[in-house]
């Protein structure tokens, strides 16, 4: 008998009922944020209560300012933005949902806080009111994003109707090279399979280059699964996972820890289990990556060039590239390292964990920022840890701005945004048109690459800096 995939094991354990191939799933945890106001409004309209408030966790992250936080909610200057943060407070209080609010020392991004609090655990089924909920798959968890109607349904019923996705295994073998991070791996994967390469699938990442990643790296990887169109991304739990979990506030304790560990160890995909699709890549061949276009598949190694549109045979593809380059204000065929940037953003649910800040600081200490550069930690916990390690002082001494936790310039709705035409080297996850502000231009990079861009004022191969 063929073995089972990790996805299959988690999926089948959560099935409550089935109707013609549509399955009613039990949801262990739901993660919401200020933007979930639409879901709460739908709940109110139906006169419903949150069914399992202890299994729903709310985060003030999308709309919170990243400076001037000493005055809490009242310190938010723009009324519409202040109202969003307040509304979450009101809704969660009304329904008895745990809130990591603006004044909470643990406050942070909904894909940073639950793992560091031990709320995200292996084997769970997690639904988030945000597409980057795929992040939590790093723990061997089935976690995916949903819109307001589905999130409302989860809050009302602690269940969700879904169709079973297909499975895709991406094996990254070998060992990552010097200066190459999880961000480069996922950008290389998306460049290879495309922004819809994972559509309808749950990805399991495997191979030595993946198991060699820390939990922070695995979260970065799984985070951007949605940028390949995948329903979710997962990495099998192993000793790194258990070591990360142990002792966290919500992690199992005492006798429960042993029980949990036994259950978690049964999760990894069985030998011989089959996937619907398989992709293999060589981790050793991946270079630091940058995006040049307006979606995450339009990316290449920093040592390369923007595509020369004259060499693109397919008419549709050429038109697509021309439109992207026009928006980005780039010349066809130009070296990526000739692209000057106006500012740098280090942060977001993709890259604002302690390891990301350490990698950026290692580069920042080599010089001084020549352009505005922001560092926005993913949570109060990350911020405190970084300050304990002196990373804040390294950034400040190098001319970087050290800010308070939140989504900030990734989703650009808290007031932090690019000006039209402004070009940003960013550790976030989306280089869509206008994502960081109307008319803004985004180049996605790793934290170390972002710090290098800050020092040089242009896209730079971080390996050249680190070698000196």
């Amino acid at each position: 008998m063929a073995g089972k995939t990790m996805f299959e094991k988690i999926w089948s354990r959560h099935v409550i009922a089935e109707e013609e191939g549509e399955v009613l799933l039990y949801v262990d945890r739901a993660y919401v944020h200020e933007g979930s106001s639409h879901a709460f409004a739908q709940l109110d309209k139906r006169g419903r209560r949150v069914a399992r408030p202890q299994q729903v966790f709310a985060h003030a992250d999308h709309y919170v300012p990243t400076t001037g936080r000493d005055r809490g909610i009242e310190g938010i200057a723009i009324p519409e933005i202040r109202n969003m943060v307040k509304l979450l407070q009101t809704n969660t209080a009304k329904h008895g949902v745990t809130l990591f609010g603006i004044d909470d020392p643990r406050q942070g991004i909904l894909h940073i806080v639950p793992p560091e609090q031990g709320i995200t655990q292996p084997g769970l089924l997690i639904v988030g009111a945000d597409s980057h909920t795929s992040t939590h798959g790093a723990f061997g968890t089935l976690a995916f994003g949903a819109g307001a109607s589905e999130v409302m349904h989860v809050m009302a019923m602690q269940q969700l109707w879904q169709r079973k996705p297909a499975t895709l295994r991406i094996t990254v073998g070998g060992k990552l090279g010097f200066g190459v991070s999880a961000k480069d791996v996922i950008l290389a994967i998306i460049a290879r399979i495309g922004v819809d390469g994972g559509a309808g699938h749950v990805i399991e990442y495997a191979g030595t280059a993946i198991t060699g990643l820390t939990m922070e790296g695995r979260m970065t990887l799984c985070n951007m699964s949605i940028e390949a169109g995948a329903r979710a991304g997962m990495v099998a739990p192993d000793e790194s996972t258990y070591a990360y979990m142990e002792g966290r506030p919500y992690a199992p304790k005492g006798a429960n820890w042993k029980k949990a560990l036994d259950a978690w160890k049964s999760l990894p995909t069985d030998v011989g289990a089959e996937f619907d699709k398989d992709v293999a890549m060589d981790g050793g061949a991946i270079a630091p990556m940058v995006t040049w276009g307006t979606n995450p598949e339009q990316a290449g190694p920093v040592t390369g060039n923007v595509p020369d549109v004259r060499n693109v045979g397919d008419d549709n593809k050429r038109a697509e590239y021309e439109a992207a380059l026009d928006y980005m204000g780039l010349q066809s065929g130009m070296p990526l390292r000739d692209i000057k940037v106006d500012r740098v953003f280090i942060g977001s649910c993709t890259n604002s964990r302690i390891e990301d800040l350490r990698a950026a600081a290692e580069v920042a200490r080599l010089g001084r920022a020549t352009i505005p550069a922001w560092v926005v930690p993913g949570s109060g916990t990350v911020k405190a840890q970084a300050e304990k390690e002196g990373l804040d002082r390294i950034f400040i001494a190098a001319g970087f701005e050290w800010r308070d936790p939140g989504c900030s310039l990734c989703t650009a709705i808290n007031g932090d945004q690019l000006k039209p035409g402004e070009r940003c080297a960013s550790t976030s996850n989306r280089n869509f048109r206008g994502r960081q502000g109307t008319g803004g231009r985004t180049h996605l990079v790793s934290p170390a690459m972002a710090a290098a861009a800050a020092l040089k004022g242009r896209l730079t191969d971080v390996r050249d800096l680190l070698k000196h």
Binding site: Q158, P165, A260, G434
Partner: protein
């Protein structure tokens, strides 16, 4: 939910692939409560300048201002899970999007709001878009029960749809009502589950 049965309406061709939900509803509009304002939020930054004046865009001109159907390109609706992208489409008057492929979350969000997403092969979508550019204002018909699209030239094209999604759309069925039928199973499931995984509920 408003049922979707049959629709004949003006269809607008959108050739650009990978239209993400940031384009359908720029993020800063996510905080707007659902309502008529969403009509102008659809493709806002493609349709309007910073001062509110109109840019050149198909959705700003007759007859496309009255579009009820979008004929799009591959990977429509990628990116953010924001349902406001669906509110924008819906309030503009769009009830059906036809494309070679859709992003999963957006497609679910459409279905939960009575907006039909129809998958037709790339070449068929391209052919219909060409018809619509040649004859602006031409109508397309969609019959969900029959699973057919009748293009601007009268050619009938069949599409596939999951039987449950079809039923929910045709009858305007509500998910919560469906789920409630399984309340007993849910309770039994949860009791067993809690016993098996006590660490999830400790403290």
């Amino acid at each position: 939910m408003q049922p979707f049965t049959k629709l004949t309406g003006i269809a607008v061709p959108i050739d650009e692939p990978n239209i993400d939900t940031n384009q359908l509803c720029p993020t800063r509009f996510n905080k707007v409560p659902r309502g008529p304002k969403h009509r102008d939020i659809l493709f806002h930054d493609r349709r309007f300048n910073a001062d509110g004046s109109e840019k050149e865009h198909l959705l700003n001109v007759e007859p496309f201002k009255r579009s009820q159907i979008v004929v799009a390109n591959r990977n429509w609706g990628g990116g953010s899970s924001r349902e406001s992208a669906v509110y924008a489409l819906y309030e503009f008057g769009i009830r059906c999007v036809i494309a070679p492929s859709f992003a999963d979350i957006h497609s679910n969000n459409c279905a939960k709001n009575g907006l039909l997403t129809v998958v037709l092969p790339d070449a068929e979508c391209a052919a219909i878009r060409k018809q619509l550019r040649e004859r602006p204002g031409a109508t397309v018909s969609v019959d969900l029960a029959a699973q057919t699209v009748t293009d601007a030239k009268g050619q009938v094209r069949r599409f596939d749809i999951h039987p449950v999604r079809k039923k929910c759309l045709l009858e305007g069925l509500d998910d919560i009502a469906r789920t409630e039928q399984y309340q007993d199973r849910f309770e039994a499931f949860e009791a067993a589950y809690r016993k098996e995984r006590p660490w999830l509920y400790a403290g």
